[in-house]
Subunit: 326 residues, 2 copies
């Protein structure tokens, strides 16, 4: 049995707790929280500890899954915990991955632990598909589309607009752009041509709706470069119809082969997820298995999904996989 | 530079020759053929040798890519050549993979070579996607659909029917079945519900068309379990409209997460290939790079796509991959 620790108990941590139940070779050794453990009730009655207690549990946990945020939690926590544990995180600030990798690698090499960072679906499964497709079709072009799905960051940005009580933002890939890519035309697509942004906004009583809408659609970085629609709805409607955290997207590579590049090929990977955090958690748990095995084989230091032999993710052995899945 | 040998020069071998040109870290050291080398003209003026000459070229070739057939060539050739070379093959008789693996492993472990078998898209990229999706969503169901594409084996079977001059058979996935799977309904699908078979047949002059059609649609193993359509066309039309070797398909996993399994997720991988052999060749070439690297790292014996860390397939180094693709 692989003994898993969950470090941070929000949506992601709860998702990990659920996913462990689907993997009979794993048990949940404990949940670590910043809150008062006595106040935290887990979904499966797993034991809850203060985060400070983790340092005393190095012998009771095989892999610690970090479930904090990329902005401030993981840059600090992953290197810290890699001193004592094999760790897996979902660090997703793409631009800062090289720096995070270097920080974690320094520690993990020294401690002899295995750390797998940036695990999830993007970065994660989408990255893997970009890598495989690019290696197989070197002369081609990659496209990543996101959605339809909820962007937490964009929803938060809308909530900070004056007069807004609540909001939910969906990122939506543009069908015409998807079709053009799938046709093998290798189009050059602008930000605006790839995605639209749909905002469902609950205004505070008496707020100036036109002003809110104007402020949203012109917000730099978040909305100004997109075709954005704003729909005002009631809090009841938001709670009823926009409660879920769905997401997904598409990674498509279009490439040529043949002595005169006369043949075109389309490789497409897509996800349609009812729950973004639960799917991410499921990926984290599979990579926790890999971290455990890689450490047993002496493969220490910082790794990413690019470094992990696929078989290490599966609960089944090589002979069974070859017989049933190959 | 990785020096590649091509063993067998049919459609697959030619595809490998083309693919090597897209990979600047590789050179084609030689093509090995059963035919008289003087009669074989390669697409890129690569040197051509008799297959018997291969044994003398162990120092001039880093990876031998085997481009023969799975029925009789590869079961004999892959173990034979793994005595002297790192090898990659596309052995695709799913039921005999465990036996082939064992035979190749025996030799490769002893010779200290790296052999990667069953490389291509199914087995190959499709297998990988079945493995990844199953590891991430353990509670779910896998579906593989093939097509639309030409089945060489079924086309050959039709050509053996009395009165048939030529034929081309397409395997076509049933749209309703694909839609049902994508909906998350996890349907149980029979062979007939998943694929149809479209046959384009050139009859010999004076042949009994009704008899030919009847014999095709009732042919056990090949057609009897499918809804099969037979269309008689002229040789000219076959040559004009059915000359290509397109193929492709879909691997879909539908799985549940959540404490009450309340959330559904769909993972879909699809290929749309203008040329089945050229795409397979492109996969073989990427795995030749991996075989070369794994051997340098002492990872000897028989391997499959399940054992190969994804990064080994890419011409780029780890830091670059993390920065650009993760």
């Amino acid at each position: 049995m692989i003994r898993i620790g969950i470090f941070g108990y929000g949506n992601l941590g709860k998702g990990v707790e659920c996913a462990i139940q689907q993997n009979p070779d794993m048990i949940l050794a404990g949940v670590f929280t910043r809150r008062d453990p006595g106040e935290v009730k887990t979904l499966t009655n797993a034991p809850v500890y203060k985060i400070e207690d983790a340092v005393n549990m190095a012998n009771e946990i095989d892999v610690m899954i970090l479930c904090g945020g990329s902005a401030t939690d993981l840059p600090e926590q992953t290197p810290q915990l890699a001193k004592l544990f094999n760790v897996v995180d979902s660090f997703d600030t793409h631009a800062r991955i090289p720096e995070h990798f270097a920080n974690v690698d320094d520690v993990a090499v020294q401690s002899g632990k295995t750390a797998i960072i940036s695990v999830g679906w993007d970065p994660g499964m989408f990255s893997l598909n970009r890598l495989y497709a690019g290696a197989v079709l070197p002369e081609g072009k990659d496209y990543t589309f996101w959605g339809k799905g909820v962007s937490q960051g964009h929803s938060d940005a809308i909530r900070r607009v004056e007069g807004v009580a609540d909001a939910r933002q969906y990122t939506v890939p543009v069908q015409e752009a998807l079709d053009a890519v799938r046709s093998g035309a290798n189009p050059e697509l602008t930000t605006r041509q790839k995605h639209t942004r749909e905002c469902f906004v609950v205004a505070k009583e008496g707020a100036d709706l036109a002003k809110i809408e104007n402020e949203i659609v012109n917000m730099p970085n978040y909305f100004a470069d997109y075709d954005t629609t704003v729909t005002f709805i009631s809090q009841e409607e938001l709670d009823k119809n926009h409660k879920g955290i769905p997401h997904g997207g598409f990674v498509i590579r279009s490439g040529k082969t043949g002595i005169n590049k006369e043949n075109n090929h389309i490789i497409e990977y897509s996800l349609k997820l009812d729950s973004n955090p639960e799917f991410t958690s499921s990926v984290l748990v599979a990579y926790a298995r890999a971290a455990y095995r890689m450490n047993k084989m002496g493969m220490v230091g910082c790794k990413t999904v690019f470094d992990v032999p696929p078989a290490y993710l599966s609960a089944f052995d090589g002979a069974y996989l070859r017989k049933t899945l190959l």
